[in-house]
Subunit: 280 residues, 2 copies
């Protein structure tokens, strides 16, 4: 067995034993695919687990279906990052979503995923999907089209992804949203990165009138529990974050998400409410 | 640094680096206390993390306050296991709870906790608390008093705790509950122990008319996400699992639990609903 260790902190780590390890070097980062018994295939970028076959559905369903279901007409969607295809796969389950731009900086990520996750190829090849390999923050500054949803499904805010979590980027997202548009980003672990979340929320509140957080289990991410930040361009979220009436056919395919889970994800534990200075 | 590794599976582990390690051997098990930077003090029994200063509040609040708030008059409570004192500490926040029996098989656990967690001493010494050092399943068979709540806060169903998860024990719990009584048990990881949860639920449904599950994040337990099974002796749970109107003063002290979190914990993800054959 080949032991991969992800250091969540100086004194904390997560160990996965792999039968086989495939590593790749791109212009941007090192990419690895582990073949494991418990987790199936595991995608690792710069030493951090990005997705595993066993648990990726939770994260991808929650970053995709929550914003879709909070928008009355989620026609056009931009995904920044997300080169593993999971978020786009979930978005494609919605007939309301007619146009997706996937802006993944590193073509090698898509290539590796196409090789080791052949079932994901149809996602990248779907006629509704345009794949662009550019730096997300540069794309955001230049883009002239507008979107109903902007979803930042990036790696953690170290290295290249740092520029996806600053006020410059947030202002560009705001501009690139159509009226009523919604922005979501993965936003780290409430257990390990509370300071980061607090700082980022302050920035987001300066750029957007309505900002909230929601959470979901994340078995292979630090702390086992993940935070998302969601913001709306110009209207409050529906009472109780109630999902909109869309075609509900996708619910037959989701393994974590359902309408009850959607609402519950917005419940804020006391320590988070205090830390994040929630007025709610 | 002294590295402690908990093997969640053959090929999966959780690593904690400790400044100091104190180990003890009791008649039943090995007990260790790690002093760590990230997690504070960590209690380990037979190689499995039981609680850490950083995250124990989530588990203990959720195993204690949920059943208390679903019972109209939670007067008398039995805690089986729970030698670390965390569950009893939370129960004592409720003036409605007037009498707690803590049935912890191993006096050494309480002794170690009293040594390394001196702030927990007042819990064991509270006039409402009676500590009994007996095997929980034997206690359950013999007990003639009845309880409003029975909370099984045990280690995982290997070794001594196995007898707290069979039909014999469940029937004894049923008998030991007063009319309207509620039973809760910790019940493993939805990510790693789905087979176990499924089997246990089948047993619980034979012993109790109303059985449900709820979940909470558990950063230092396998899968980072934990399942609880809750059952009611003879009445359905209130609509939407709505909390009862009790003295709400305890909500000033909880760090995870609040009334919104209480309700949301009962949302069942699709894969669990399917696996657990929920009719809901």
């Amino acid at each position: 067995m080949y032991w991969f260790i992800e250091r969540h902190r100086e004194d904390t780590g997560f160990l996965i034993g792999a039968r086989m390890v495939h590593t790749y070097q791109s212009a941007f980062q090192t990419i690895a695919v582990l073949e494991t018994e418990t987790w199936g295939r595991v995608l690792v970028i710069d030493g951090l687990v990005q997705m595993t076959d066993r648990d990726e559905f939770i994260y991808h369903e929650m970053i995709a279906h929550v914003p879709v279901m909070l928008h009355p007409d989620p026609h056009r969607v931009l995904v920044v990052g997300g080169g593993d295809g999971g978020t786009v796969r979930e978005l494609l389950r919605h007939p309301e979503v007619r146009d997706i731009v996937l802006c993944e900086i590193d073509p090698k990520v898509v290539e590796v995923v196409r090789t080791h996750w052949p079932e994901m190829r149809s996602v990248f090849e779907d006629h509704r999907v345009t794949v662009v390999h550019t730096d997300g923050s540069q794309y955001m500054q230049r883009v002239t089209e507008q979107f109903d949803l902007v979803i930042v499904d990036s790696s953690d805010p170290v290295s290249y992804s740092r520029s996806l979590f600053n006020s410059h980027f947030l202002q560009a997202v705001y501009r690139a949203l159509r009226p009523g548009g919604i922005y979501v980003t993965q936003c780290m672990s409430p257990i390990h990165h509370l300071e980061f979340i607090r700082g980022f929320l302050q920035q987001a509140r300066r750029a957007f009138p309505v900002v909230r957080t929601y959470t979901a289990p994340a078995p292979t991410y630090p702390g086992g529990w993940w935070n998302f930040v969601i913001a709306c361009k110009d209207r409050p979220f529906p009472e109780g974050f109630a999902p909109m009436a869309h075609d509900a056919h996708f619910l037959e395919f989701t393994r974590y998400y359902n309408l009850e889970i959607h609402r519950q994800a917005f419940a804020v534990p006391n320590f988070l409410a205090k830390e994040l200075a929630y007025a709610s």
